[in-house]
């Protein structure tokens, strides 16, 4: 069950948006398709939805080969970045749209729409028009509209991309909780690694039309398959040419055997975190320390120090 994408290729003219991509989205999971802009993640989502036709490959939704099915018959819910609200309909009519297309009885539609509006906390806005709603409210309406038809899978294309930072954080926590309540297989596209790590069970990293790695947030962060995934998912610095996370490094003063020798170039205090740049023979290394560690070492610019990888629980 869930979604299975196998060997999908999609070209736009000479541009290869998806290059032989295979992805498994487990049933009931909340999966993030994460990657830089233009990497192919939105195209993959649209191929799953049937809004784009792949040049090659197979899309399987809940055990049905859906490659040739139009979006109308895929039993999906789709949420667009810019909401795609039906502007001439009230919030109620927007959410009721899929059910009224399916010619459900009036009483049933009213009951279901009311439930959904309560689920997304906009029941008091049922008679408003989308233009009278805030961005966050519109996106919740779009989500309720997509859920109304009880889709097999829910697909969200940068659902919080058009919202400001505060609303964005609220909504993603809320999406996580909503998913825990309704358990529908969900895939969402994002270019924000923090958002993906915060919300998703599974992250699929996509760049240049290929899947770079699939795994849980911890797997991707701690054992990235390559430099790209490593640098995309978190801060990276280089120690003797090797990529390493700045918070996995420690500073020893004075320098000892086994540590790379250098001297402190600058110390920047960012609240709780202290950023220390150390000049070594192989260039500058950025080390992230806690305030307590930095104070204990009493670091000042020019002081000779050693840098080494700290013993970490997952190495």
């Amino acid at each position: 069950m869930g979604i299975s994408v196998r060997n999908v290729t999609k070209r736009f003219g000479s541009f290869v948006a998806l290059d032989d991509v295979s992805v498994e989205i487990p049933s009931g999971s909340l999966t993030a398709l994460l990657g830089p802009s233009g990497g192919g993640k939105t195209t993959l989502l649209r191929v799953i939805a049937g809004l784009e036709t792949p040049d090659a490959g197979v899309v399987d939704i809940a055990g049905t080969d859906s490659t040739q099915l139009p979006p109308q018959h895929r039993n999906i819910g789709f949420v667009f970045q810019h909401y795609a609200a039906f502007k001439h309909m009230t919030v109620f009519k927007n959410v009721a749209f899929g059910l009224s297309i399916r010619k459900r009885p009036k009483a049933e539609i009213r009951k279901r729409v009311t439930e959904l509006l309560e689920l997304v906390h906009i029941e008091h806005l049922a008679d408003r028009y989308p233009s009278e709603l805030s961005g966050g409210q519109r996106q919740r309406m779009a989500l309720a509209r997509a859920l109304a038809v009880e889709p097999e899978v829910l697909l969200l294309d940068e659902p919080f991309g058009a919202l400001d930072a505060q609303v964005r954080k609220e909504l993603r926590t809320w999406l996580r909780r909503l998913h825990d309540e309704v358990h529908v297989t969900t895939a969402f596209v994002t270019h924000d690694q923090e958002e993906a790590m915060d919300v998703a069970d599974v992250i699929v990293v996509i760049a240049n039309g290929r899947v770079e790695q699939t795994g849980t947030p911890d797997q991707l962060y701690d054992t990235p398959a390559n430099d790209f995934v490593m640098s995309f998912l978190g801060p990276v610095t280089r120690l003797q040419g090797r990529p390493v996370r700045p918070h996995d490094l420690e500073i020893v003063a004075p320098p000892t055997n086994g540590a790379v020798p250098g001297h402190v170039a600058r110390v920047v205090r960012l609240g709780f975190e202290v950023r220390v740049d150390v000049a070594t023979d192989d260039g500058e290394v950025w080390v992230q320390l806690t305030r307590a560690d930095a104070d204990r070492l009493a670091l000042v610019a020019g002081a000779p120090v050693g840098v080494r990888v700290a013993s970490s629980p997952y190495k």
């Binding site: 789709f78 502007k87 297309i101």
Partner: protein, 270 residues
């Protein structure tokens, strides 16, 4: 302060110029037409526009306008959707062709149609053999009027389609709506005012068309004479009262349609 005053002054100047321009070019002639028409009250005007020939001319204009509006509404919607929502070779060419009627003189359109459908042409004689007369009858006049009023619906609807984008339509598909349901319940409501405006402009143009119709109709009184041809003929026969009365009635219908549309159209929502 000085800045503010200058802005106010220049804004006032602009307003005066714009109003004067519209006044002299547009309102003055239409106003005078109105005044001349009703110089002797409503009774004589009514008599003039209900003479058998005038009434017949109105009926011919009505028939031609009806088919033109019908044809160009369907064609205009289809073309606008094609131009905005689809990619195909020759798209720019089609777009250019849609504007051609604005560039070509209606008289030229009429002559061109005679070259295609005239009695001595291959097409014309073939159609005549099958009992269809195009030139000097209603079909030819409809074709000519469709030709000259072709761009209005397309050019009103296309920008609005462009602006609303295709995401609402795609959302409707994912919710299970067929293409036809999506058009009826999502696209059409979004473009209805633009479509209404295009239809009214088409209607106004169809009511007022003179040049192309003059060439293809043959201007036969009580047969193929439209209201505009009637006005011209009456004026040339020194029947100025008849000419003014019918001209006024024609203008009134078109202006009324525009005014009504503007009144019922709600303030644009964003």
């Amino acid at each position: 302060m000085a800045d503010g005053r200058r802005t106010t002054a220049s804004r006032l100047g602009l307003r005066v110029v714009a109003l004067a321009y519209v006044g002299i070019i547009l309102l003055l002639p239409v106003g005078l037409l109105f005044w001349r028409t009703f110089a002797h009250g409503i009774g004589p005007v009514w008599d003039q526009i209900t003479t058998p020939s005038a009434a017949h001319a109105f009926r011919v204009t009505g028939i031609v306008a009806f088919w033109t509006v019908l044809g160009n509404t369907i064609f205009g919607l289809g073309t606008a959707i094609l131009l905005v929502r689809h990619r195909f070779p020759g798209k720019r060419l089609l777009s250019a062709f849609v504007d051609m009627p604005l560039a070509v003189s209606p008289v030229v359109v009429g002559l061109a149609l005679i070259l295609v459908y005239g009695p001595k042409t291959w097409t014309g004689s073939w159609l005549a053999d099958h009992g269809i007369e195009v030139i000097f009858s209603i079909p030819g006049m409809v074709i000519a009027t469709i030709f000259v009023s072709l761009p209005f619906v397309v050019r009103e609807v296309a920008p609005v389609l462009e602006e609303i984008g295709d995401e609402q339509e795609q959302a409707a598909w994912t919710l299970g709506a067929s293409k036809l349901q999506t058009f009826r319940r999502v696209t059409l409501p979004a473009i209805r005012w633009a479509l209404g405006y295009g239809v009214v402009l088409t209607l106004a143009r169809a009511l007022g068309e003179y040049g192309a119709v003059a060439v293809v109709s043959g201007n036969v009184i009580d047969k193929t004479q439209t209201a505009t041809l009637y006005v011209s003929a009456a004026y040339q026969n020194f029947d100025t009262k008849g000419a003014y009365a019918v001209a006024f009635a024609l203008a009134a219908v078109a202006i009324l349609a525009l005014v009504v549309l503007n009144l019922v159209r709600p303030e644009e929502r964003t």
